[in-house]
């Protein structure tokens, strides 16, 4: 058994207060271990816990029993048993992205993100790596660099981890052979260079035997480096880098206990702040100076990256949750169009054009993603063409937001890149976190297209036409009667001197959207474009009627959100599938049933009925004329039109 120096029993016993005081100066390191069970990952983590004496006596006794009964290491202690237990949970279908383990030495507290190395590796590893400052990449000395080594390294680098340890494990099984070790390190260096990893620290270890873990091994006299534990204790975690940049302070909460105090609470993402510093609040751009840094332990002279504090200003300027307080001379940018790297984490594939909630720092906005420029095969690190992203896919996409987002490039850690460049996407219907993303840069396009402040505005257009512009959005199955009823409604409005326009499959699919097919992704894009065109027409003062199946709630909601309130009227043609299929005016159901048409709504593609439409029309009891009359009545009776 390896001796170790991580339990200063003497000091604890002799003078516990002095011991406690030295421990109050400890720092912290979060790291991730990458590798599969076969690489000895669990054994290594178990060994670190054991060598730092984080194993309690009762646990150790249980462990010795378990090792003898079911361990894989004969009479020796099977350290893997300390941290396993994930396997059983996986069988029960419990999702485990990451299990966190804790241990501490005299110098540091460690939080280990342990990710199961099975199929969900990308999602899990990205989650575990997102707030790690160091990664231990485990290699089985007998096997050398494998596909998974490349995959792990790529992901670790993608998430911006600067400290990489190449732990060549199981050295005991290759007789501590230096040539084997050297070959692996030199192979890895070639690969690391190719994906942009500039530096890494290699060490020969055995998690099972304890070589070079807590004490320098006599079995590797040719190795001049330090032990893994020593490295973990002393490696620079980059705090200086985060402190060196300009101030970035995302506001979490406005602190207003009474009329005399107005503070802004948050955690400093980068830089240092002092009273008197000039600041600029983004996105508004308003400036002031710092009056005080407030904490329960008294006002501070200064505070640096990582600290959770409350700031007050010398001037009363607007500032609320989601705003970012920046160094006035070197503020962040705000933009609404980006290139981003996305990691897809949901069972449902990405739908280009669908509106997702984007959470970045303390800001929440609506975001739509375009078709990927490419996706990356994490095994070969090749860029491949892609129309969408599936679970565990990584791709580079353009992304646009409905509001300007205050951001930094993810990789610019000194400027709060992780806090203001890392984001998640949330599905509005399921509320699931569907993707993690990293902003690479803003696309200049949107900066150059300044919104033309037109003098003849939407109100002027509407006034001239003497009507209230709006979209009458007809939705329902194919053959439900959308076009027929929409046409009747338009005729009636026309007779009433209303300025209208009807958008339907005929005038849209053949022109504007002729490049789109009927996959789920194309259907989403189809509706997005129709929504944008409708929006322009409404701004021109028109009453727009649209007749599209528009099967997904998400897209109908997206269009609703594009328009001012009360200007989107959802009209659900509630015709049952049997009735619509029986009518089969265009013979499409027959083709779909025969398998000649794919992705046909109601047959092999879902229709999500509106839960709360403004108007419901039942075509089994009403004629198209009666249905149209009902729409007209709704518009005028309830003074939705004057």
């Amino acid at each position: 058994m390896t001796d170790n120096a991580y339990r200063p029993d003497a000091l604890i016993a002799e003078n516990v207060e002095e011991y406690l005081n030295t421990h109050l100066e400890k720092t912290m390191l979060r790291f991730i271990t990458c590798g599969s069970v076969d690489d000895g990952k669990s054994t290594l983590i178990g060994r670190l816990l054991y060598d730092s004496k984080m194993i309690f006596e009762d646990q150790l006794a249980a462990l010795e029993d378990e090792s003898k009964a079911g361990g894989t290491q004969g009479q020796d202690i099977d350290f893997a048993l300390l941290v396993d237990g994930l396997a059983a949970e996986r069988e029960q279908g419990i999702t485990i992205d990451v299990a966190y383990r804790f241990f501490a030495t005299e110098k540091r507290k460690f939080i280990v993100a342990d990710t199961p190395g099975h199929e969900q590796y990308t999602r899990n590893m990205v989650t575990g790596a997102s707030d790690s400052q160091l990664a231990v990449i485990l290699i089985d000395a007998r096997k050398g660099i494998l596909t998974q080594t490349r995959r792990h390294s790529y992901l670790v680098n993608l998430l911006g981890i600067k400290n990489i340890v190449l732990a060549v494990n199981k050295m005991d099984l290759v007789d501590y052979d230096q040539a084997t070790y050297d070959q692996i390190v030199s192979d890895y260096r070639v690969f690391a260079d190719s994906i942009g990893i500039a530096e890494f620290t290699a060490m020969p270890i055995s998690g099972f035997k304890g070589d070079n873990i807590a004490s320098v091994s006599e079995n590797t006299p040719w190795y001049n480096g330090i032990t893994l534990m020593n490295h973990l204790e002393t490696v620079d975690v980059g705090e200086d880098v985060r402190q060196s940049g300009p101030l970035r302070f995302p506001v979490q909460w406005v602190n207003r206990p009474n009329l005399d105090f107005r503070g802004f609470s948050g955690q400093i993402a980068s830089g240092v702040v002092k009273p008197g510093d000039e600041i600029r609040v983004l996105p508004s751009g308003k400036t002031s100076t710092i009056k005080s840094i407030v904490t329960m332990d008294g006002d501070l002279e200064q505070a640096s990256a990582g600290a959770s504090v409350t700031l007050t200003f010398n001037d009363e300027i607007d500032c609320s949750r989601g705003d970012v307080i920046c160094a006035a001379a070197d503020p962040a940018e705000a933009a609404d169009s980006f290139e981003a790297t996305l990691v897809w984490m949901d069972e449902h594939e990405m739908l280009p054009g669908r509106s997702y909630v984007m959470k970045i720092g303390t800001q929440s906005v609506n975001a739509t993603v375009q078709h990927p420029k490419y996706r990356v095969d994490v095994n070969s690190i090749e860029q491949l063409a892609a129309k969408t992203l599936q679970l565990n896919d990584i791709g580079v996409c353009s992304l646009t937001t409905d509001k300007r987002v205050v951001f930094e490039s993810y990789n610019d850690i000194a400027r709060g890149g992780h806090e203001l460049g890392g984001f998640i996407l949330i599905d509005k219907m399921t509320n699931a976190t569907v993707a993690a993303g990293m902003l690479n840069f803003a696309l200049r396009r949107s900066d150059n297209v300044h919104w033309q402040a037109t003098e003849v505005d939407r109100t002027a257009h509407a006034n001239l036409k003497n009507q209230k512009p709006m979209v009458l959005w007809f939705t329902g199955l194919s053959g439900s009667g959308k076009s027929t009823i929409a046409n009747e409604v338009e005729k009636k409005l026309h007779l009433m001197n209303r300025h209208t326009f009807l958008l339907d499959g005929d005038n849209v699919r053949h022109g504007l959207n002729k490049d789109l097919g009927f996959t789920e992704a194309d259907r989403v894009e189809n509706i997005r474009r129709i929504g944008e065109v409708s929006k322009l027409m409404v701004e021109a003062g028109l009453i727009v009627l649209t007749a599209f199946i528009s099967p997904f709630r998400g897209e109908r909601r997206m269009v609703r959100e594009m328009l001012p309130e009360a200007e989107f009227v959802e009209i659900y043609i509630e015709t049952p599938l049997e009735v619509a299929e029986k009518r089969d005016v265009k013979g499409l159901y027959k083709k779909a049933r025969a398998g000649e048409l794919k992705n046909f709504t109601g047959i092999d593609s879902p229709y999500e009925a509106p839960t709360n439409p403004e108007i419901r029309l039942d075509t089994t009891t009403q004629t198209p004329e009666e249905a149209a009359q009902k729409v007209i009545a709704w518009l005028f009776d309830s003074s939705n039109q004057s």
Binding site: T27, G93, G263, V294, M345
Partner: protein, 299 residues
Amino acid sequence: MKKHTHLKQLEYESIQILREAAAESENPVMLYSVGKDSAVMLHLAKKAFFPSPPPFPLLHVDTTWKFQEMYKLREKAAKDAGMELLVHKNQEAVDKGINPFDHGSLHTDMWKTEGLKQALDKHGFDLAFGGARRDEEKSRAKERIFSFRSKNHGWDPKNQRPELWSLYNTRKNKGESIRVFPLSNWTELDIWQYIYMENIEIVPLYLSEMRPTVERDGMIVMVDDDRFPLEPGEVPVQRSIRFRTLGCYPLTGAVESTAKTLPEVIQEMLLTTTSERQGRAIDKDASATMEKKKQEGYF
């Protein structure tokens, strides 16, 4: 510039979590059990919102079987923090006289699990802070910081959300709720060191003193009031004891000790260690118990 110590980093992280949760929920509450973890959590909440008082009430799900000293500190701690204290007792358990001596695991089910659900429903809380830590048990190592509960307070382990960076997805449907664990990344040692560093008031039972005790199933139990059923002729023995965790007094095992100060307690903990929850009778069933309790809505 000086580096942040590990306790400061843990403090900053917990404060960030407390603020996010409060900012993104409509009706939050803090579950307060009066134990040392609750004491630290409450202290962090005071720091997070200073100079405002924490913008939520404290909720104690009472079983009527806690130690008398816990009830004393409960009132004082809420008052000192300037927070409203809500106490909930499951009326059905009151009526049926449910107690730890006669009813075994039903005691925990009705007072704690059911009591908690009732209290949350009664007040319509959509977010509840809890003091659980990931190091307490193997099965908690993988717990999210923001944990989602269905309308019936069920925990669906297959439907939890990945947590990246310090971004928390707090969106939920009507009726659903979130449990938030700001102390997830703290260990028992961190908790003690922080209490020491910050001089946080804790229940005196954590420090050794001569107390009246009896032995039950190999466990030393304190006779805290006259409801304790003694064997015929049995007389409580005065022992120098302290507690590592506090719950219902008849279910909480004491350790024999002479550690009368916080540093001495930490010293003992470091020198002679058994893992923390060993003293709690509730955990002595099969190891899957915790998982099951969680699915039923107990923390």
